[in-house]
């Protein structure tokens, strides 16, 4: 089996190298990309989409279909991580031992054979590998996290004018929740963003993107041709393209945010959602 895999890899690699010879030379001024595509993007982006940042316009408008499946790739990365790593409790396992810590005094109670404590404000549930989070780090991160999230939103919303967009902003937003998980513990972060919510958000991001495209289709233009949205948004078709870009960027941001947290939660706890590897 390994040998077959090796042969397939070598043959595919050789074919790719053979095909690479047919590419136009590096920065060849006579290549199709340089003769009409790049000049079109550089000269016409502003009047066609009213987006000053050409990269954003190419990514989310001219090559929107490509970006939609990039988002789908990110979504599947999260889902694959979940299916490969997540270990849920089985029925035949012995009942769980739970630990509860009194928040004010730090006294920890152990409950054996699956007994539970009713939820209360005085006790928090902890894992057996739990270590007390450091006060300085906790306070520092508590100060920083809101600003990190604000900056993430700014990067998503300001993608039309400056470097940024859905992917980058989503990563920053995801990092803020991961920072919470690092500075406190995984249980705190999961309490803020449950596994179910993460899964729903992950799919919702891709759905927002695809639905924006389908909406254009319903309004009798091509898939992901945002000028169709002009009627709904009560703007001219060119501004509608700019707004359409923002809509899909938000979808991308949500998908990336959820995937980042999902992958971190599964990898850092080896799929058990408990503190410590």
């Amino acid at each position: 089996m390994k040998i077959i895999g090796l042969i397939i890899t070598v043959v595919t690699g050789a074919l790719l190298f053979y095909a690479a010879g047919d590419f136009p030379a590096w920065s060849d001024p006579a290549s199709p990309a340089s003769t009409y595509l790049s000049p079109h993007f550089i000269e016409k982006t502003m009047e066609e989409t009213s987006v000053p940042n050409i990269v954003t316009a190419v990514l989310a408008d001219y090559r929107s279909f490509d970006t939609m499946f990039e988002t789908a790739v990110i979504f599947s990365a999260g889902v694959v991580c979940f299916f490969l790593l997540r270990i849920s409790r089985r029925e035949d396992e012995e009942p769980e031992t739970r630990y509860y810590r009194h928040v004010l005094t730090g006294v920890t109670i152990q409950l054996k054979e699956g007994h539970k404590m009713p939820p209360s404000a005085d006790f928090e549930r902890i894992d057996s590998m739990w270590t007390p989070p450091d006060l300085i780090i906790k306070t520092g991160c508590r100060l920083l996290i809101p600003f990190v999230q604000l900056f993430g939103l700014y990067v998503i919303a300001h993608g039309h004018h400056s470097p940024g967009g859905g992917f980058q902003g989503g990563v920053i937003l995801g990092a803020s929740v991961i920072l919470l998980a690092i500075s406190h513990d995984l249980r705190t972060a999961v309490r803020r963003m449950s596994e179910k919510l993460i899964g729903i958000l992950c799919a919702a991001g891709v759905l927002i993107y695809a639905c924006t495209g389908a909406l254009c289709l319903l309004l009798k233009l091509n898939f992901l041709d945002y000028s169709a949205l002009a009627g709904i948004l009560h703007v001219d078709p060119i501004t509608a393209r700019s707004h359409g870009i923002l809509m899909v960027e938000i979808g991308v941001g949500i998908a990336v945010l959820a995937t980042m947290i999902w992958i971190y939660n599964n990898i850092s706890s080896a799929g058990r959602y408990r503190q410590g590897l």
């Binding site: 270590t131 450091d134 300085i136 780090i137 520092g140 991160c141 920083l144 600003f147």
Partner: protein, 110 residues
């Protein structure tokens, strides 16, 4: 050469002095904990001085836009001030919890 340029130069060079000191310290100090000391302290102070110099230099042609840019540069300073010492503290904390003993005089550097 007006007074502003002199202030900017003084700030920039003192920032450079501390950053160089930090780099030398990271290379020369004997162990993990003492190497983190220049990394956490001198880099923060050095970037504070250098960034303040940038913010001042940016105000040469005064306008609302330039003021906004300067404020953003100062915001970077605030966040470095919060994040860098906290991160250093976190790394030291991890070292202590992992059981790494600090270096004492007479030992070999590691």
């Amino acid at each position: 050469m007006d007074i502003m340029n002199i202030i900017v130069c003084v700030l920039l060079f003192s920032g450079l002095f501390f950053l160089t000191g930090g780099a030398v310290g990271i290379l020369r100090f004997p162990d993990f904990y003492s190497r983190l000391h220049p990394a956490g302290k001198l880099d923060t102070l050095g970037s504070f001085l250098a960034m303040t110099a940038f913010a001042l230099f940016n105000l040469h042609h005064f306008s609302l836009g330039a003021l906004l840019t300067s404020l953003k540069i100062l915001l970077i300073v605030v966040f470095i001030f919060l994040a860098s010492p906290t991160a250093t503290h976190g790394i030291v904390d991890a070292g202590v919890r992992a059981g790494l003993a600090p270096w004492t005089k007479g030992e070999k550097r590691r």
